[in-house]
């Protein structure tokens, strides 16, 4: 029964991917991509990776979807790029199928029993006082990756801002939707945003011991921020705003500060003070959640339009 479910899910995933690749119309392709992301989230649940499922749905499908839809709206309806030669189509199809077949064979040929780090993590996890092993890997055992990935996120915002017409990258990004906001948007923002913020904070709080954590929470909070912007409840901030920049830096540099503090408290960079591991880890998570939420929201809003003329 569950095998049947998996098979149907795999076929739907494949159909979704083919739909994205084969659809000529940009908007339809993006909408198909969002649906594909939701299906992928289901696949992650079936693979017993609920943390990944939440991330995929929130970031891989949700926020990416918004970014791509904005992109479609800003592009001219008729792209100027000519389509590749249709005669190449069979060749490309053959190459792709060959790659897929070889890769499928490689996956089936992976050794049995599968090598795994699960036992190592299980041995080391109790010392951190965390219940969620994925959070443990992200914030303790491989904290360097997570720290640097925060820098990647910040850098991609810098890259987006650098595309502003204003060489100093100042001012407010263009509005997301019509102004003034339609009444239902405003209503939705007023009613849903508080609930959504609560959900985001719950995901963060639960992340220490259950599926959830900084990314998932940050994505939900970013979505609520965008909802408030679309409903005209808050104004889009200017990029040079000092408070905004502090929020952007809080995550990566708060994390870095904790890393340096590890030298004093645990004798090693990115070590946590013995006895107070969980408290410090949660503090780091709060800081990076704040930064993730603000950064994701600003990335969706896009480059600033330059200083306003007063």
């Amino acid at each position: 029964m569950s095998l049947l479910f998996d098979a149907v899910l795999c076929l739907l995933l494949l159909a979704g991917a083919l739909g994205v690749v084969a659809t000529g119309a940009a908007r339809a392709a993006v909408i198909a991509f969002i649906g594909y992301g939701l299906l992928l989230g289901l696949a992650w649940v079936r693979l017993a990776a609920v943390d990944v499922a939440l991330t995929e749905i929130a970031i891989g499908s949700g926020i990416s979807g918004v970014v791509l839809l904005r992109c479609v709206r800003a592009l001219p309806a008729t792209p100027k790029a000519p389509a590749p030669n249709p005669l190449l189509r069979p060749l490309a199809a053959m190459v792709s199928i060959a790659i897929a077949v070889a890769l499928g064979a490689a996956v089936l040929a992976l050794p049995e029993p599968a090598p795994s780090r699960a036992a190592d993590v299980a041995t080391a996890l109790p010392a951190t006082d965390l219940g969620n092993p994925v959070t443990g890997v992200l914030l303790v055992f491989r904290a360097l990756d997570t720290l640097l990935e925060k820098v990647v996120l910040l850098l991609s915002l810098v890259g987006v801002w650098a595309l502003s017409r204003d060489p100093a990258c100042r001012g407010r990004p263009d509005p997301l939707s019509l102004e003034p906001a339609p009444a239902p948007s405003a209503f939705l923002a007023r009613v849903l945003a508080p609930v959504g913020v609560l959900v985001g904070l719950y995901l963060l709080w639960a992340g220490a011991d259950h599926p959830g954590g900084a990314f998932q929470s940050g994505a939900v909070l970013a979505a609520m921020g965008l909802l408030l912007v679309m409903g005209d409840q808050i104004r889009i901030p200017a990029t040079q705003n000092r408070g905004l920049r502090l929020m952007l830096l809080a995550g990566p540099f708060g994390f870095l500060a904790v890393g340096f503090a590890g030298w004093a408290t645990a004798g090693v960079f990115l070590g946590y003070p013995p006895g107070a591991e969980k408290a410090v880890i949660i503090a780091v998570e709060v800081a990076i959640t704040l930064s993730i939420a603000v950064t994701l929201g600003l990335i969706v809003l896009g480059p600033p339009a330059g200083e306003e003329r007063s």
């Binding site: 696949a43 970031i59 891989g60 590749p84 077949v101 599968a114 993590v121 092993p133 991609s156 890259g159």
Partner: protein, 106 residues
Amino acid sequence: MTGVHLFGLAGAALVGCGVYGLLMAPGALGRILAFNILGGGVFLIFGVVARRGAGAGFGADPVPQALVITGIVVAFCATALAAALLVRLSAVDAEVARDGEKEKET
């Protein structure tokens, strides 16, 4: 054949779809989408690796799960940067075209 194998094969097929899209997409947006499909396939294969490594009381090896979460965020950053570049490029192209027409008129 188990469900895990099925997802492994689906991941391989998604990679194939992504490669096809990268090769044949008519515009940059199509390539960005194809890159995401390709990335999704790679992550799914990693998920299969994680699920196969279940043990010590965990439903799946937590290390690959954490790496995939990092990977998804990095892929999002790439998508966002590429989309922003594309939007700016089309705006600048439109400006250049408009200026060209104006010059022709005068």
